[in-house]
Structure formats: C-alpha cells, structure tokens
Symmetry: C2
Subunit: 253 residues, 2 copies
DNA sequence: AAATGTGAACTTTTTCACAGCA
DNA sequence: TGCTGTGAAAAAGTTCACATTT
C-alpha cells in the first residue's frame, strides 16, 4: 500500500451500493447456518429464501462482489462465507467499547452474536462510580474517566452508546476525540459528528411508530373491506422483513 | 383486487412514501423538543437541522401530508406535532406485549420513550416459569401459557420479540395466530409471517457489521491518502445519521 | 438442464431550483 | 423579503428477462 498509484487497487471497481452492504450481513448469517449444517453449495433461490429477499436481488448483490458462483450449480457456501466476511471486514477483529451499562448496555454486553463475529468487547464504561469494578458479562465495568485511555490503548475504532439521551452527545464527542470513527447509537438523539465519522442508530421508539403507522392503516382498510363483498384471502405465507412489509394501498373514498 | 373501482379515492392521494414514513418519527421527536421549549414556529431549515436531514427532503416529506406550513414564516410547532402524531396513529393508544424478558426484554420494558408516545406495555411474557410473577419495570412477568389470552383480552396488535433466536419463529407464530399483526423482532432470525403482518427487525450485529465495512474502507483510504500530498480537511461538523453516514468517495483520480 | 451474471426497464428516493404566497 | 410547496432532473435501488456457462 501507500504507493504513488493513482488507480484504485487493481481489484474490481469499488463502490458496492449501500443497500447491498446492508444486506451482506443477512446473507452471511444464512450462509453460516448452512455451513454449520455442512451444506456444500446453495442456489441463489435457496439462499434468497433463507435470507428473506428475492433471488434476483441477491444475485445482483453478489455480482458487485465478483463472480463467486458456478452456473448450473450455485454458490460454494464456505467460499462465499469467506468472501463476504472479508468484504465486510470481519476477518479482522474489531475491539468495541460499550458506554452506558444500564439494562440495555448489559444486554448488549451479554449478546453472544457480538463476540462470535469479529467483534470483541474491549471495555464496558459507565459514569456511575458505584458500577466500577462490577462485572457484567464477565467484564468489569470501568469508569468514564478511563474512556480516553482505553480507546487509545486498545485501538478502539467502534463505540456503542447506550447511555440516556442527555449524555449521548457528550459521550460521542469524547469517543470521537479519542479516536473512535464509527458509532452505534442506541440513545434517542441525533448525534452530530465530524466528517469521516459514521453513525448508525437503533431506535426502538421509531420502529414502533413505523409499525403503528401501518397498523393504523390496516385498521382503516378493514373498515373499508367490510363494505366490500369479500375480503381477499390474507394468509399466503410470505417472507418479508425490512422497511415495508406490505403497504397495500386501498382506502375508503 | 376486490371491487370494480379503478380510481384512487377522492381523499388526498394516500400513499406516503415508505422513506417518508420512516422519517416522520424523527421529525416528531425534534418537534416535541421544540414544543417543550415553547418554540411557536420553526422553519424547514431549522427543523431539518434538528432532525439531521436536509431541508428540501423535509419539505418534500411534509408535502405528502398536506400544506401545513406558512410561506415566509415556517411551521406551527404544535400543529405539526398533532398532524404527524395523527398520521402515525399515535393519537390512539397501542397496547404492546414484550415476549422474552431477558436482559434485552427488561431494557425494553424499562425504556421510557415507550410509554410516552402512544405505546403501553400491556404485558411482559417469558417462558421461564421461575420468572412468573417477578416484576420488571413494575409489571409482573407472565408465563407464555397466558400469551393468547392476554393478546385477545387486551386487543394487542403489536408484539415485540426479544427471545433467543431459536424461540423467535415459534413465538411469532403464536403471536400471529392470536391476532398480532405487527411485530418488532430483536432476535437475529428472519421471521416468516402470513401476508398482512408487518415485521420490522432490529439487529445489533448487522449494524455493527455495516459499521465494520465502512471502518475497513476508511483504513484502506487512509493508507491511500498517505501517498497523496495532503489529506483534505476532515472535520467539518456534519449532521448525518441513518443508513450511510458518510461514504466519502475520496477516490484518488 | 440448471442456475448464474447482467444489461435494460422500471420504481423509488433524493436533490435541485424556483414560482408563488404570506 | 423569506420561506414554503412542488415540478422536473438526477441518483439509487429493484426487478425483469435472457444470453451464457457449467
């Protein structure tokens, strides 16, 4: 690395669409399950079903990574697991700090899928001095004062914020100042960060509100449906996750 | 579909884009904060900044709801709060059950923003008989056997699954059979549900993997940047959340 | 025969830029 | 004058359908 080269690494044209990146972990999970069952190969159709997406989308997604399948056969499970892991950066180990060891922080610390896939909890940090030293998920909680030291010593670049909303921005600023460049925010606040820092948020109440919106609409539809001869059959098992789910679009006049 | 009607209802063309729906809770939160500070009106620019989106997008989003602003002035905070709440279905009260009262379930039960905005925890349910009766967040945990009864008695239509992955599909099936039509899934599994049921998922490990992807790319870029005279200034405070975060596209020529 | 990989069509979402109103 | 509301353009994402390869 670090040469005077002006071109993108001879690899394949970078620029995997963000939507594709967001689905790679889904594929990886499905593939890992297959791998554990020692399934050697899988078709786009099968894998797509397991991941809950459609097969054309899956093939298109994989096409951004390269040609890892075999026509007439499908994909080699182990090989794909490796390729996707590599693409996601999971072949290296990412130390992560969790700040705010309340109920949620403890839940996160205990979350198994964490350690399993490339991530390692480097430290648990809480502002409450009473918590200091107390082990959570086998890791002793450290006081906020130690934050900068921990991040620098362990080379932490990913931080998880599970504090109350009021403390989140301040914690975020400290994390960023200490060198963290990716933040997963569970606090219900918009964080502002310098350029070059990634923030993703997970927000229970937003998810519930989106569900309520669709739920309300369903209720309206039912009322409308009552006025109509026969409600169309609802019950085809469909696999569908993510942002929408249905969005039918009927509506009373 | 069902009737012979071919035209859209006379109402304002329903069909708020899904992307817009997903942002409404964000606007609502920002507006609620303003309302608490007794701010009477707000411009699209200000509100957009508070919500972490750009103002054109916000205006476009609001335009799907109707014309609730005043040109030259901005939006009336209270009025908008009401309109968005109504649109999201938050003017009614949604009873919610949480299934799986481990660390995460407890965290969710204790989550304040829950009760505050239209949602009410109708019951906490766990498969462990030892948990039964134990109060969490002031609510006694009930055994899974009671699930169907609770859902029917309380008219619950939204369920939260916080069980281990292995139990999730089974719990989901029972919820759906009992009448739940919206599910928020915290278990790391793809749930399959009948048509007409909405599922949204929240998945810590997926979020971390997406961060790792970008983090890895940053590392690569840095190395590339070392070969270039001077790294462009990174540090303009930017507000940016959601799916991407940055995706800088530095790309040496 | 089976299943990938991908141009091309289509849909959704974002951004632009400005007319129109208070 | 200031700021909304929105057509129109651009970008991103999804789906189709089929030539290509094993």
């Amino acid at each position: 690395m670090a040469t005077g080269r002006t071109h993108r690494p001879a690899t394949r044209s970078r620029g995997i669409p963000e939507a594709t990146v967001a689905r790679l972990p889904l594929y990886l999970r499905a593939l890992t399950a297959l791998s554990e069952r020692s399934v050697p190969t899988v078709s786009s159709e099968e894998l797509a079903a397991a991941a809950g997406v459609n097969s054309a989308k899956l093939r298109k997604d994989f096409s951004y990574l390269g040609s890892y399948g075999t026509r007439g056969v499908g994909y080699d499970v182990e090989y794909l697991v490796y390729q996707i892991s590599r693409e996601l950066g999971l072949t290296q180990d990412w130390p992560v700090v969790i700040v705010g060891i309340g109920n949620l922080g403890a839940a996160l610390a205990n979350y198994g899928g964490f350690a399993s896939r490339g991530f390692r909890v480097a430290a648990l940090i809480d502002a409450d001095p009473g918590m200091a030293g107390k082990p959570v998920a086998g890791i002793p909680v450290q006081h906020t004062d130690e934050l900068e030291k921990i991040i620098q010593d362990d080379g932490v670049s990913i931080g998880v914020i599970a504090t109350p909303a009021g403390a989140a921005q301040q914690v975020c600023d400290r994390l960023v100042a200490a060198g963290v460049t990716s933040i997963l925010n569970f606090a219900p606040t918009v964080l502002s960060v310098p350029d070059g820092v990634d923030v993703r948020k997970v927000d229970l109440s937003i998810e519930l509100q989106i569900l309520a919106f669709h739920e309300q609409r369903k209720a309206g539809e039912e009322a409308a449906a009552d006025a109509v001869p026969h409600v169309a059959a609802r019950k085809q098992p469909s696999t569908d996750q993510g942002p929408d789910g249905d969005v039918p679009a009927v509506m009373p006049a």
